[in-house]
């Protein structure tokens, strides 16, 4: 054999060897992911949704072990559908409005996920009216199934910001000068620009054109001096708030939940311009290794036990009828159940008409 061919075959053998060794060591229990394929489901979703009180419910009802990967953002989740090398997860979950265009593809046959087998999802019929739009159907097949409602607003430290401060009733708390130096912004283009757009009075911020977007960016750049730091993940934001480094931040419901559970005196505001709402939906990537398991998880998350435990577990709202019954008035107020029955003003985080422009605008805000 020539030197080249010998080298090539050596390289191929090495790669095969490595892959073989990898699966061998995996089954040896080295490092953690040691369970056999059919009894484990790997998923990528907001980790709070399978937090310490919720994961046991799902594991118990599905008889499977749940391994949740590190969730960063909806964009990150969706990008894995289009990245080379496959999605690497059995089940994925992200915001419906944001993900549907990518997940469903432009037309029939371009879906990036597999259709669900409705016979494996008996709980599908329990989905409440407000959440039905999250069932993404095409040609009689379902591709995306809702799992929970998220609410984004402003978290603030009640020791520093009094509840009766009129700022707490508006997104102005996050932007204006009153609490300069005590504010934290989440480092995401979509949510921050949407909140700013709402605050500045745009009726449908997701349809902002280049000029309007530029104005919003200019506003944010002007207000950046009030910001102490950016944070990239829920936990980082929570840590900053709990340490007292910041007293006001763009907050998602799981952050508020976690902080309150640990005894921190923070709460979320209900801005008059509207809280930002999103519907988390699950979908099964094409290269899913445990399809039955993925279905079981989706079904469990539509079940009664999960729906009832959801708000206390992570601050999100259920998508099922059973989750809406027996809600006491204080819980109704605390968790914002008003979104489901229309008594709390909310604005859905819709997908921008030109996402690239939004990303660009946010980059400009960050680097200014």
């Amino acid at each position: 054999m020539s030197e080249d061919a010998r080298t090539k075959s050596f390289m191929m053998d090495r790669r095969r060897l490595l892959q073989g060794a990898a699966s061998m060591t995996a089954t040896l229990g080295f490092g953690g992911a040691s369970k056999a394929q059919t009894s484990e489901v790997t998923l990528l979703m907001i980790n709070a949704m399978v937090g310490p009180t919720l994961k046991p419910i799902v594991e118990d009802e599905t008889h499977l072990k749940i391994a949740d990967g590190p969730y960063v953002s909806s964009t990150d989740v969706v990008s894995r559908l289009t990245a080379p090398g496959g999605a690497r997860y059995d089940l994925m979950n992200s915001s419906f409005a944001f993900s549907a265009p990518v997940v469903m593809g432009a037309k029939a046959g371009q879906e990036r996920v597999q259709a669900v087998d409705e016979s494996l999802l008996p709980n599908l019929k329990h989905i409440n009216a407000s959440s039905k739009f999250g069932i993404a159907e095409r040609d009689g097949k379902i591709y995306m199934v809702p799992s929970s409602w998220g609410i984004d607003s402003i978290l603030y430290n009640r020791a520093v910001v009094p509840d009766d401060d009129p700022y707490t009733q508006s997104w102005s708390l996050l932007f204006e000068d009153k609490y300069a130096g005590r504010i934290g912004w989440w480092d995401v283009a979509h949510q921050m620009l949407m909140a700013a757009g709402l605050y500045l009075g745009h009726a449908k911020p997701e349809q902002m054109d280049r000029e309007q977007l530029g104005e919003v960016a200019k506003f944010l750049i002007a207000k950046k001096k009030n910001v102490r730091t950016f944070y990239s993940t829920f936990a980082q934001g929570s840590n900053l708030l709990s340490n007292g480094e910041i007293d006001v931040c763009y907050g998602v419901a799981p952050m508020r939940n976690e902080l309150q559970k640990r005894g921190f005196n923070v709460t979320g505001s209900w801005p008059k311009e509207g809280v930002l709402s999103l519907l988390n939906t699950s979908y099964i990537p094409k290269d899913c290794k445990n399809v039955a398991g993925a279905h079981a998880v989706i079904n469990a998350m539509l079940g009664e036990r999960y729906s009832r435990a959801l708000s206390d577990g992570c601050g999100y709202l259920p998508v099922t009828e059973s989750g809406m019954t027996d809600v006491t008035p204080e819980r109704h107020k605390k968790f914002g159940y008003g979104i489901l029955d229309g008594t709390v003003k909310h604005y859905p985080l819709a997908f921008p008409t030109n996402m690239n422009m939004w990303i660009e605008a946010w980059s400009r805000v960050k680097t200014a």
Partner: protein
């Protein structure tokens, strides 16, 4: 080919093959990808110059790039000034104690890089060590907000994290010094400062250069430190590249940005290397 030459080639073959596969090939793919087309929905191999166009047209990229180079250069200089006397100290210990002092310098670097960066939050934060001490001592009444989440903190963090890479090469250089040179200088009547300036310092230059290049390279690629400590103003180019892969899904632009960073950094090294042969730097002189 002679037998010795063949032996030489066979010796370097394994490592060379390894590097061709795991170093050269990935970089080549990166360069190729910088000419592809990306959207939020994915990347396709359609040739385009748009990525580079975006980088050249939009001022934010070069703004952050120059900020990065500036921070990296400052960090390098500060690191040098801070490390040189320490390296000198280490080199001048007696043989008995030298090992001990050396190990003491190494010890903090055996914690993880993430830890060494993160620890500056409880050091400089509002409820951090510095503020607590200053308040307890009575120098200030309320915590200083400006200690953290700005460019200055990024500098401190980077200097702290990469100190060893500067101290070590300088120490090795100084340690290799030929005794007879010092004696000769003293015999010729030069005082200690003169000996240092004329004999010791020039001979430690390889170590200085080695350290500077290492720290500069490491600082240019910084990602975690600016993100954790830099607040809204202390970001660096790594913080611009990474989101292209993790958030915006624009791999082509990310690759183009990466290529730009590598080229600019190499350019800096070449310009710097005109004064000195870079190969010598890396082989310790």
């Amino acid at each position: 080919m002679t037998r010795t030459k063949l032996r030489g080639l066979l010796l370097v073959l394994p490592a060379t093959l390894w590097l061709l596969v795991f170093s050269v090939a990935p970089v080549a793919l990166l360069v190729a990808m910088s000419f592809w087309t990306s959207s939020i929905f994915g990347t396709t191999a359609d040739f385009t110059l748009d990525n580079y166009k975006v980088i050249l047209d939009d001022p934010i990229y070069f703004k952050v790039l120059f900020q990065t180079l500036r921070i990296a250069a400052t960090v390098t200089v500060v690191s040098l000034i801070v490390s040189y006397p320490m390296a000198f100290f280490l080199a001048t210990r007696s043989n008995r104690t030298k090992a001990l002092f050396l190990v003491l310098v190494f010890l903090p670097f055996w914690s993880s890089y993430v830890v060494r960066t993160f620890v500056w939050l409880p050091m400089l934060g509002r409820t951090g060590l510095v503020n607590t001490v200053l308040i307890n001592v009575g120098l200030i009444n309320s915590p200083l907000d400006w200690l953290i989440y700005n460019e200055g903190t990024t500098h401190i963090g980077l200097v702290y994290v990469y100190t060893l890479f500067m101290t070590l090469p300088i120490y090795l250089s100084l340690d290799k010094l030929d005794p007879s040179l010092i004696e000769a200088s003293a015999d010729l009547g030069a005082g200690p400062w003169r000996t240092f300036r004329r004999v010791v310092l020039p001979l430690s230059v390889p170590g200085i250069l080695s350290g500077c290049v290492m720290v500069f390279l490491l600082a240019c690629g910084a990602y975690v430190t600016p993100q954790l400590l830099g607040g809204t103003s202390g970001i660096m180019f790594g913080n611009v590249i990474a989101p292209q892969y993790t958030v915006t899904n624009n791999w082509a632009l990310g690759s183009a940005l990466s290529v730009v960073l590598v080229l600019v950094v190499l350019l800096c090294l070449i310009v710097f290397g005109r004064k000195v042969r870079l190969n010598d730097v890396f082989t310790g002189g």
